[in-house]
C-alpha cells in the first residue's frame, strides 16, 4: 500500500493561544486559521477541545485527536477502504478523506497526500578529501537563516500493546519494521517512504496511551541547532538534546509543548529499502543516542585572565 507518512496531526486543546504561539515560534506557518504548515504543507492543526467536529478524545491525558496519513493516489485509498472495512467502520469525508480507528483505539484518517514536492538545497559542508560543498567565499554560518521545518517526519505513540499495534500497521497497511527496541517497540516505515521511521511506539500501561512526540525534518544539523537555539532564547523548555540518535541516525532536539506532547526537530535520518535487515537491541541510555549535548549560555574566549591585562 502506497502510504507516504503523516500529513496532519489534529489536536483538541484548552490553551489554543499558547499552542499557536508555540507552533509559530517553532517555525511552522499558519496558512489557514489554526493550521500550521511545514514547507511541504504537512501540518499541525489546532482545535478547541470542545469543538463538536473533532473525533472524541481518548480517556487519557493526550490532546491528539486524529492522525491523518497521506497516501500516493486514489487507488491506495480504495485499497485501504476495502481492507479496513472488513472489520471496522470506515467513513468517507467530503474531500474523500477516510476516517477510522486503529487497533489501539487511535483515530486515524487517510487522504491523497497534501504534500508538495520540495526542491531545496541540502546543508552543504566542506569536508577535507571531498569536493567542497560550498563555493569559495560562500559563508556557512548564517544566523539569519529562516530555519523552517521542511516536512512532518514521524510520530511516536505510547501504546498498551505494541505487538498488536505494530501488527495492525504491518499486516493491514503494509508498513515494515526497520529496527526494534526489545520490549519497547518497533520503528516502522510505510511502503511509499524510504525514511528510517515515520512511526515508532513505546509500550506503556493503558492509562498512558497517547502521543509521546511528533517531529519535523530540518535541512540539516546546523539548521536544527539554529532553530532549537532560537526556541531556548525565547524561553521554551528544552527537554532532550541536541544529540544524535543511533537507530535512524537522525539528529534530534526535543521541546516541551503546550499541546502536552514533545515536539522534536530532526535532521539527516537514514534511508532504507527492501535490502535492509532489521537490528534489535534492548532500550537503554546507550542505545537511545550516540551523543547528547545541552544548550548553555553563549561565551567568548578573551586574552589574559581578568585583571591581568
Amino acid at each position: 500500500m502506497r502510504i507516504i507518512g503523516p500529513d496532519e496531526l489534529i489536536f483538541g486543546v484548552d490553551n489554543i493561544e499558547a499552542c499557536r504561539a508555540f507552533l509559530a515560534d517553532y517555525g511552522l506557518t499558519e496558512t489557514d486559521p489554526d493550521r500550521f504548515e511545514a514547507l511541504d504543507r504537512t501540518a499541525v492543526v489546532l482545535r478547541a477541545s470542545d469543538d463538536a467536529m473533532l473525533p472524541p478524545p481518548l480517556p487519557t491525558a493526550t490532546r491528539l485527536r486524529e492522525t491523518v496519513w497521506g497516501v500516493e493516489d486514489h487507488a491506495t485509498l480504495d485499497a485501504i477502504a476495502a481492507e479496513l472495512s472488513r472489520d471496522r467502520e470506515v467513513t468517507v469525508g467530503p474531500s474523500g478523506r477516510l476516517s477510522t480507528v486503529d487497533d489501539a483505539g487511535f483515530r486515524i484518517a487517510f487522504q491523497v497526500t497534501c504534500r508538495i514536492a520540495l526542491n531545496l538545497p541540502p546543508e552543504r559542508i566542506n569536508s577535507p578529501g571531498a569536493a567542497p560543498g560550498r563555493a569559495p567565499n560562500e559563508i556557512g554560518a548564517n544566523e539569519d537563516a529562516a530555519a523552517r521545518p521542511r516536512t512532518l517526519s514521524h510520530i511516536v505513540y505510547f501504546v498498551p500493546d505494541m505487538d498488536r499495534m505494530a501488527n495492525f500497521y504491518i499486516d493491514r497497511l503494509g508498513f515494515v519494521i526497520t529496527d526494534k527496541f526489545t520490549n519497547t517497540g518497533p520503528f516502522l516505515r510505510p511502503q511509499a517512504n524510504d525514511d528510517h521511521h515515520v512511526l515508532f511506539m513505546i509500550q506503556t500501561p493503558e492509562y498512558m496511551q497517547g502521543l509521546e512526540h511528533l517531529a519535523f525534518h530540518m535541512q540539516g544539523p546546523t539548521e536544527l541547532m539554529l532553530a532549537g537555539s532560537r526556541m531556548v532564547k525565547k524561553g521554551y523548555e528544552s527537554f532532550w538534546g541536541p544529540g544524535r540518535h543511533k537507530f535512524g541516525s537522525n539528529w534530534f532536539w526535543y521541546f516541551n509543548s503546550p499541546m502536552g506532547t514533545h515536539v522534536e526537530y530532526d535532521a539527516d535520518m537514514d534511508k532504507h529499502d527492501g535490502d535492509w535487515t532489521l537490528r534489535e537491541v534492548p532500550m537503554s541510555k546507550e542505545a537511545a543516542q550516540m551523543f547528547l549535548f545541552e544548550n548553555v549560555a553563549k561565551w567568548a574566549p578573551g586574552g589574559p585572565p581578568p585583571g591581568k591585562g
Binding site: 484548552d14 508555540f22 491525558a61 506503556t204 492509562y207 498512558m208 521554551y236 523548555e237 516541551n256 549560555a297
Partner: protein, 112 residues
C-alpha cells in the same frame, strides 16, 4: 532560608518558576491561590529529568486550574500536587515548604 522571589512576582491565580540552576532551568514551581503560595520541585514524577512547563513561567492548563506537564500532558492538582490524569497517575509532585515574609517568598528548606 533561600529567597525565591517577591510575592508580587507571582500573579494571583498564576504561576512562576524560581531558583534557576547554572543552565537557567528553574528548580522550583510556585503557584499563588487565594493568598497562599504552593511550591513544588520542577520535575514531573514520570521521568527523572522532566521539567514541567513549556516556556519560562508557563506551568498551567488553559483555565489555570491544574499544573500541566508539557511533556505528555499530565495534570496535577495545585493544592497537593497529585496527578489526576497522565503517565504519573496517582503520584504527586514533590512539595516544598515556603514562607512569606515582608512581601518576599522564601524556601523554608535546604535549597533544591
Amino acid at each position: 532560608m533561600t529567597l525565591l522571589c517577591r510575592l508580587d512576582d507571582i500573579p494571583e491565580g498564576g504561576a512562576r518558576g524560581a531558583l534557576p540552576n547554572a543552565r537557567g532551568r528553574d528548580g522550583v514551581v510556585l503557584l499563588r491561590r487565594g493568598g497562599r503560595v504552593y511550591a513544588y520541585v520542577n520535575n514531573c514524577p514520570h521521568y527523572d529529568r522532566a521539567p514541567l512547563g513549556w516556556r519560562k513561567d508557563e506551568f498551567l492548563n488553559g483555565d489555570g486550574t491544574r499544573i500541566l506537564c508539557a511533556a505528555h500532558g499530565a495534570l496535577f492538582r495545585i493544592e497537593d500536587g497529585v496527578c489526576e490524569i497522565g503517565p504519573c497517575l496517582g503520584q504527586a509532585l514533590t512539595p516544598l515548604p515556603v514562607r512569606i515574609e515582608g512581601g518576599a517568598v522564601f524556601l523554608d528548606a535546604p535549597a533544591v
